[in-house]
């Protein structure tokens, strides 16, 4: 088992990885922390944020797309314009803007009953979820618009079904596949985004670590302790690669015609 901070180290004894010990398998960072342990713990944060923000993003986008596509008219116009506006911002710049603003408040934010601590993982999760909402919203809304015109929806209206039943009972089951197909690729994208934000030190805040923050730490140790930066990067590549492969598979299985576009 690899444990954080296992073993005491003196000055000049900080091992440079890779080694064949179970402790300090790939060495320690400048503060003597076991890089392997940090990578594993950091991975937890990265995956939590990646999966969490992808789920939140898809959830929000799905509900908004259902509302916009179902009610059309002013609701659709409003939501679509809002999405266009978010879309107009480069993903990273928008995330940077939001993160910077939230980080200028040292004691966290207090909105009504909601208290957000700046070092909470929820901050990057929420930011990443928000900036990708238009990317899911657009294709799903288009689908809702077309499904809404189907005769089975008319049949449900003729039976006296309520709006909620039409949206969630009839339309939702027919658009949810699109979201399921997008989900693995969304997680791949959000994991990458999280690492980038953390690398820019506006994602996960110390003392918590994620793969991105470890790469950031490793930047200054690059020539002396390269594994600090290399190891988490390899983890990111492997994770994102498997998510992409999984996503391709899911897409081929569920929706061979889907063309997905993610900008990063």
């Amino acid at each position: 088992m690899i444990q954080q901070g296992g073993g005491a180290l003196g000055i000049g004894e900080i091992p440079i990885g890779p080694t064949w010990q179970t402790n300090y398998f790939i060495g320690a960072d400048a503060q003597g922390r076991d890089v392997m342990a940090r990578v594993l713990y950091g991975g937890r944060a990265s995956l939590e944020i990646g999966i969490g923000s992808a789920l939140i993003c898809c959830g929000i986008a799905l509900v908004l797309a259902l509302l916009a596509g179902f009610f059309r008219g002013p609701i659709d116009a409003l939501l679509s314009r809002l999405m266009d506006l978010i879309w107009a911002f480069p993903v990273y710049l928008l995330a940077i803007s939001l993160a910077t603003v939230l980080l200028t408040k040292p004691n966290g934010l207090q909105w009504g009953f909601v208290h957000v601590d700046p070092s909470s993982l929820w901050v990057p999760t929420a930011i990443i979820a928000l900036v990708y909402v238009p990317y899911v919203f657009r294709p799903v809304r288009g689908q809702v618009l077309s499904v809404r015109e189907k005769e089975y929806v008319e049949a449900a209206i003729a039976q006296g079904a309520s709006n909620g039943r039409l949206m969630f009972g009839e339309i939702l089951p027919n658009v949810i596949t699109t979201v399921i197909v997008m989900l693995p690729l969304m997680i791949a994208t959000t994991v990458l985004t999280e690492s980038a934000l953390s690398f820019l030190s506006i994602g996960v805040q110390p003392p918590k670590a994620s793969w991105g923050t470890i790469i950031d730490d490793g930047q200054s140790l690059l020539y002396t302790r390269p594994w600090v930066a290399i190891a988490p990067g390899i983890m990111i590549v492997l994770t994102v690669l498997s998510l992409n492969v999984l996503g391709d598979g899911v897409r081929d299985a569920l929706d061979p015609r889907a063309k997905l576009r993610m900008r990063g």
Binding site: A88, P90, Y92, A188, I236, V237
Partner: protein, 323 residues
């Protein structure tokens, strides 16, 4: 056509206006956020805070603040940084933009060439082991965080293999303007270009391959084959030409995003003083006016580029020209 351009322009102005409002609101009106904090230093007295607020017009009402800010940004162009009052924001951006542009332009050339080569090669080699192999390589390219790849590139070219014949030509991190020394400009940018283009080579190669395989079953491709055209002519003249339509439209978008600030990570890793680096440096100091200005610059650039692409498209393809 003129009506279309006018209508598109009106829409464009509306979006640009909305962008400035939204950005302003994010930075200066988020509840619970105090933009003066970074300015006033540690444990400021209420008097200091008030004085600073007055200096930057932050004691006015929000719409007035917005107008003041926009006036200083677009008309008098004398908006200054919070941290360094000598740094004027607008000139800082205009002097950083050529660096970003150099970076993105070179990377774009590389990624277009290699993506087309990879995509076409994969289609030619379809059925052999090389097609899936190329696609896996492309997928790996997409899966790599660009800043990490940049660091690994730095590690190899600046340190580990710097003193070998392979990379001894690589200059230290930084930038030389094209106008002062074109050769040094080129040398400084080679590694960043390659690093930035890897993701896009992977992505575009996959898109191109999928597109080529799509059109392979189209009737006009079968007709071309039936006519007895050589495989090479079919592929290059008939299949590639249609597939490039998607390719070109994606390219327009991505190029816009990168010049608009998407190349930030690459600039930071390689120490290139472009717009992205400017944003990053202000980020570290929480220098809100600079960040706001670069964000507005990026969003403007992308929006205007998109509008231009739309108009050019409508000019080229009458089918999408709205009535």
């Amino acid at each position: 056509m003129a009506v279309f351009i006018v209508r598109r322009s009106i829409g464009l102005i509306a979006v640009l206006f909305a962008i400035t409002v939204l950005t302003f609101l994010i930075f200066f009106a988020t509840p619970g956020v105090d933009p003066t904090r970074a300015l006033a230093g540690r444990n400021p007295t209420p008097e200091t805070v008030a004085a600073i607020k007055h200096q930057f017009g932050l004691d006015r009402s929000l719409p007035v603040q917005y107008l003041l800010m926009m006036k200083r940004l677009f008309i008098s162009r004398d908006l200054v940084s919070y941290g360094n009052q000598a740094l004027k924001v607008v000139p800082a951006i205009t002097s950083a933009a050529p660096v970003t542009f150099s970076l993105v332009l070179g990377a774009a050339v590389i990624w277009v060439v290699f993506a087309i080569l990879t995509g076409v090669l994969a289609v030619i080699l379809k059925g052999t082991i090389f097609d899936p192999l190329l696609m896996i390589l492309a997928l790996i390219g997409i899966s790599m965080p660009v800043f990490w790849l940049g660091e690994v590139a730095n590690l190899v070219t600046q340190d580990r293999l710097h003193n070998t014949f392979l990379f001894h030509w690589v200059p230290p991190l930084g930038y030389t303007p094209l106008t002062s020394n074109p050769w040094q400009w080129f040398l400084h940018l080679v590694i960043p270009w390659i690093t930035l283009s890897v993701l896009y080579i992977g992505f575009y190669a996959r898109v191109l391959r999928a597109n080529l395989l799509d059109v392979e079953n189209e009737d006009y491709v079968r007709t071309a084959r039936a006519k007895g055209l050589s495989e090479r002519r079919v592929l290059l003249k008939h299949m590639l030409r249609t597939s490039l339509i998607t390719f070109v439209s994606l390219f327009g978008l991505d190029f816009g995003v990168l010049v608009g600030g998407g190349a930030l990570l690459t600039e930071v890793v390689f120490g290139l003083p472009g717009v992205g680096k400017l944003t990053y440096d202000s980020l570290v100091k929480l220098d809100l006016p600079v960040i706001m200005a670069t964000v507005i610059y990026g969003a403007f650039f992308i929006t205007i580029a998109n509008a231009l692409v739309d108009i050019v498209y409508a000019r080229l393809d009458p089918r999408i020209r709205p009535a």
